[in-house]
């Protein structure tokens, strides 16, 4: 399976923490973080998901020269846009140690189980599981994640 190199950088951690509204200095202030139990800047608990930035084939990032399914001149840039599309159903993180600036992680993605379920709010649901193992420069496992994505038959009813 695909292996992604994920360099963990302080500015990326700062931007990610800002995006989730987290002002904890341990995510952006090296001097303050040095005085804490963790001894330096660490990444917030869901930061591992930002590995998407380093996946060359990530399907939810527009790429130069390729049609994008979001709007431009027309509501979708592709002829057959996904009618309901995929949603995120579950996300699980197992932490072995915090991620830190300077880590260069090797992330291996593995497909998991696939299953189906019938839903009143969105028709047939197809679930797909994906496991990712994050290892550091020494080969030590630092983070394991399990994501479950769901493709719905129709948009989720808001009633």
């Amino acid at each position: 399976m695909a292996k992604i190199t994920f360099p963990v950088e302080a500015s990326h951690i700062m931007m990610f923490a800002r995006a989730v509204g987290d002002t904890n200095p341990v995510y952006h202030d090296a001097a303050a973080a040095a005085k804490t139990e963790v001894g330096g800047i660490i990444a917030p608990p869901t930061f591992g998901q930002a590995v998407a930035q380093f996946d060359p084939d990530y399907h939810l990032r527009p790429k130069p020269g390729q049609a994008w399914f979001g709007s431009g001149k027309t509501p979708s840039g592709v002829e057959k846009a996904p009618s309901a599309g995929g949603l995120h159903a579950e996300q699980h993180f197992e932490y072995h140690r915090p991620l830190r600036p300077g880590d260069v992680l090797s992330v291996e993605l593995k497909p998991g189980k696939t299953w189906e379920k019938e839903s009143k709010r969105a028709g047939k649901l197809t679930f797909r599981e994906r496991i990712a193992e994050y290892r550091d420069q020494t080969g030590a496992l630092v983070l394991t994640t399990r994501s479950v994505g769901v493709t719905t038959e129709r948009p989720v009813d808001q009633g």
Binding site: A19, I42, P45, T46, A50, R61, A84, Q91
Partner: protein, 138 residues
């Protein structure tokens, strides 16, 4: 900078609750797209989302809601103390929503606290439900 929990001062049923976002803005959703790298237009592109995807408006990434929920958790258990954090996304989160996250201690054993995690919107509707485990001090 948050201190760890202490087993001697912690009991099953203890809770910690925070308002993790007030009046979620489309701009914060854009900010999350940029930081995380998830540019799915259903989160930021109203034209696509209403005319093609069939939703009433753009909505937040599940992972933004999980990140907001994680902020409450690390404020409670301390920096670098989580060993597990997992959630199911049970309802969508929309611009204008205000979210409250609650941690409830369900078990204490072997230097760990087991925690139930729930995030609800301003109408009391649950948007995220899950569990976390954190290392605690004696």
């Amino acid at each position: 900078m948050k201190m760890a929990l202490h087993a001697s001062r912690l009991k099953v049923g203890d809770t910690h609750r925070e308002r993790v976002v007030e009046n979620l803005t489309r701009t914060q959703i854009v900010q999350y797209a940029g930081a995380s790298g998830d540019y799915n237009p259903i989160h930021t592109d109203a034209t696509y989302t209403t005319e093609v995807a069939g939703y009433p408006s753009v909505f937040a990434h599940g992972m933004l809601t999980m990140g907001l929920t994680g902020k409450m958790l690390t404020n409670y258990v301390g920096d670098g103390r989580l060993t597990n954090f997992g959630v199911r996304f049970t309802n969508q989160v929309w611009p204008g929503d205000s979210l409250d996250s609650t941690a409830t201690v369900t078990a204490i054993h072997d230097g760990l606290a087991e925690i139930e995690v729930v995030t609800t919107n301003q109408d009391g509707k649950e948007v995220v439900r899950g569990t976390a485990t954190a290392r605690i001090d004696p």
